[in-house]
Symmetry: D2
Subunit: 315 residues, 4 copies
């Protein structure tokens, strides 16, 4: 099966030119000024951009959370992704207490199987990592799942303590893997939330006001410090604000293997969404929350100067 | 009762001059070029320095710890202090699990009573601060005990979690009090210690090698972040190294009410003490441990530039 | 001659207490709870503060500048100072091109002689320091004039080049002296001024708009870098803004012997004075100019945290 | 004319794969898994890397300097470049005092014409930029020479003052051009050199000892400050040391359009070359000089984290 895309403007990470592209059995096999092949399928891309498929390394299809579940399953979610030009997602499989890492991965493969329109892979969220389970991480890496997400937030649900993070970083790094960190001080946030609830402050905006940027920045700093002690790299997920970015910048200026992603919601939206009348603000309840507008400029600077390496959706 | 000190060289925090000093009923009542009074007691201080009595804000008389107890009691310790020119100590009373703050303070007053040769006061080490005990802090402040020490180290013994620290900071600050922080990531240190022990690494030097400077710096950063979120000041006890000092400097440069003390052992000793043959190095087992020599210069710089405010002994 | 000040509240750099003070021949000879002496003069200071006389280390009495002259001479200026509690000034003698340093000092002593109501000393502004004149600096230091002011601003008038500054720093430091630096990039400011004038922008506010904070910060950074290369201390005069303070903070954090003063005008006034209607804004034309209001907080932070050491008036 | 390169391993800035490459009339016209064309010339690249030609943006062919001249002319230099895989150089044309920019460019085009084996372009070194010559910069940019090098070093030869730099930055930036800066405080270096010579310190190592890293860092900081005031980008040439890199990092962390290159000599050699016996060290006399070894790690970190953007040779 051959497909020929003609006359398009090809834009890649480093180039921008007009060319024809031949695809054979799903893979680009030739790029040239003019390709004369009788392909099975011919597409005229005149006046259009031809770009590589996007990779979204942070999605949560069918994730059960907080008594409900992500609205997209692997079928609807990947179809939507394809329509936007995203051809690969890396979703998060969740290991629940008492499960082996393999059980978690199997469960998620089962969810995805046969439903996806695009490529997919998994990170593994670990919530239960006693010392005798750590070796399973290396087994996962050998199976191709090399990134593990740990939470400093959500005490009682996802949160693992600093010792677990430290040991997981060492183990993953030893095996060539990477820890992805949800970096917010969830214990302090929890105390803030309890007080807010006790004071009757339950409007949507209190979701943001009980998760200050300093709680995220503290988590980022701690994640980097633990990684430095473990002699391991670390990847900060969904970084939302200037305070947190400062910690990443400081680490990278010191030569530490620190990486971070931000998301469109932090680049384009601002705190004012929570001030909308009534319960409207609840539409934007996410974690970390949307921040004050001035943070956007700092995040854009971070992307421009390679202090942030990735934009994902946290779908 | 009058005492006259004649001909001494008076050196205070800001002055240096020759003068006579008259003391009436234990208080300086007059300083002058030449005081002509028939005092009950006359001391000729010619050729000597006359300086105010020292205050040591970090002592642990009769502290039970690790299955043994501090070698000095309030009698020997304060007598030794007096010989060195220290006329006031602030010792640490310890609240154990289940005790009220008042019980803790009473216990320590009982230890000290009748034994001391010099003035003394107390900070209160809190190990058990559920929400319904927090109001006791304000009561303590009204009684004159306005500083409370919390531990990020020693899990299972002294360690309290970040939420407790955060709430204690708010409560103390509200009442005009201050949190003193033992700032080391004790949970990670514990993991390092367990591994070292498992590997048979039990020589004295492993005490230092399992408590890296980054674990202290992380604690200092977190303490400052919690204080900032609580809108409270914070005082770091026994800061030992450049990495930790960097965090204090950064906070003070940002205008945060952050204070720190260091101790003579960190200013004058270095890690090589742990390399002494046999078990000799055990004499210097303390927490935080003695650091690499180059840290000393940084601590002296900190004192000179007011980034460190206090030298105490941690006796 | 004896003067007794009774019942005042004595406030010094470190103390605050009620006491009597006896002054003999112009010097405090005794401080005490109750001094019973028949003094020639008795002052009842009940309800009043008794404080040491202020020292203003930055005044310009009778300074000829820009075709006019400072409005105060040593008589009116020092009388005014005395009324405000300032009992010592350090004024600036100016060495003009071709003069020896001694000639400059003599000229200023002549201006001051017999006119002053308070103590005074001199710094020396140097505008002409070829290599063969450098030794005169050490001679000045021996005479008690140990601080020399150099200008990075005012090309053609006061400005000296970086090599002169570097060599003067070495020479002064060798002799135990200190360079005081007017730190603004005067050459770039001059280019900005010329353009503004060419464009008809001559309203008072353009004085401020052609002297941006970055031009001052650059000067401060350069002064510190020259001092570091010369292995000498440096004292920045009339620091006006956060950008410039950042450079001082950075230097002090690195342990460099860097000192700086700010002035009341920068602590209390802000740029809006230049926006007053008509020519009114001209009243506040000074160098560096008054800055945007937010700088004030940073300067206060600097004073509080010992990043700024002195408040002078630049009278 | 067609050339076919077969079976090579193609490595570009972002990709690494095996493919054939077809070149028609000197341009890549097709890249594919297997290209079946009867080309005029066929090259078998099996087992070899196929990479894009290198660009060296900092060369000095036939440059007259210090009474002698660069040993390579455009013929030998570009032939050597081609042998190393460099297919484009950007050399520096020099405008001498009194010349127009066009005269300078013409002179260098004449030197290069007919001699080069590879592509070439020019930056323009400006040594004489009075206000009425500034408009020529925009003319140059329209002709395709959009980068201008200015010197803070070499007083009396290349050095231009800060006002000139500031105005040139504004003018170049206005026209879409860029200032390349040789950033060292040449005036202070000159004073150090004169003293060293006066003291008979003329061994090769004194070349390095009279050009300290702080003199370079000061120049870099000043260049960035001038660019910020001019609202223009700046490109630092041949950055050699950690102190100077710190200034670039600080600027980029603040979002300023600051760029810098380093060179292989700073990445691979260290100061010890100057300590070789006799006059041997003179082989490594270059500006800035080779630095202490530890600087190398910092430069590599800079490249890795995108704080340095370019490696050139300064041939």
């Amino acid at each position: 099966m051959q497909t020929l895309i003609r006359n398009g403007r090809v834009v890649t990470a480093v180039d921008d030119y007009h060319a024809d592209i031949l695809i054979e059995d799903g893979k680009v096999s030739m790029i040239g000024k003019e390709i004369n092949v009788k392909a099975d399928k011919r597409i005229d891309a005149k006046g259009r951009l031809v770009i590589p498929g996007g990779i979204d390394p942070h999605t949560h299809m069918e994730l059960p959370f907080g008594g409900t579940s992500a609205s997209d399953d692997f079928e609807t979610g990947t179809r939507a992704a394809a329509h936007g030009g995203t051809t690969t997602i890396i979703d998060f499989a969740v290991q629940y207490k008492g499960q082996s890492l393999n059980q978690a991965l199997d469960a998620w493969f089962k969810k995805a199987e046969g439903k996806t329109s695009i490529d997919y892979g998994f990170h593994l969220i670990c919530t239960d990592l006693p010392d005798d389970r750590l070796p399973e991480m290396k087994d996962m890496i050998r199976q191709g799942v090399s990134s593990f997400k740990l939470f400093m937030a959500y005490p009682g649900v996802f949160l693992v303590d600093d010792a677990t993070i430290y040991k997981a970083m060492q183990t993953a790094s030893d095996g060539g893997g990477l820890i992805c960190m949800h970096a917010e001080n969830g214990v302090v946030i929890d105390a803030m939330v309890r007080r807010a609830v006790a004071e009757g402050k339950t409007a949507p905006k209190y979701h943001a006001l009980t998760r200050p940027t300093k709680a995220e920045a503290e988590g980022v700093h701690r994640a980097i410090a633990l990684a430095e002690m473990a002699n391991a790299p670390v990847y900060i997920v969904h970084l939302s604000c200037s305070d947190a970015l400062d910690e990443v910048v400081r680490a990278r200026d010191a030569g530490l293997p620190t990486y971070a992603e931000t998301c469109p919601q932090y680049l384009f939206l601002d705190y004012s969404v929570y001030e909308k009348p009534g319960f409207e603000g609840a539409k934007w309840v996410m974690t970390p929350p949307i921040r004050e507008k001035w943070n956007q400029d700092e995040l854009w600077r971070g992307l421009k100067f390679n202090d942030l390496q990735v934009v994902s959706t946290d779908h």
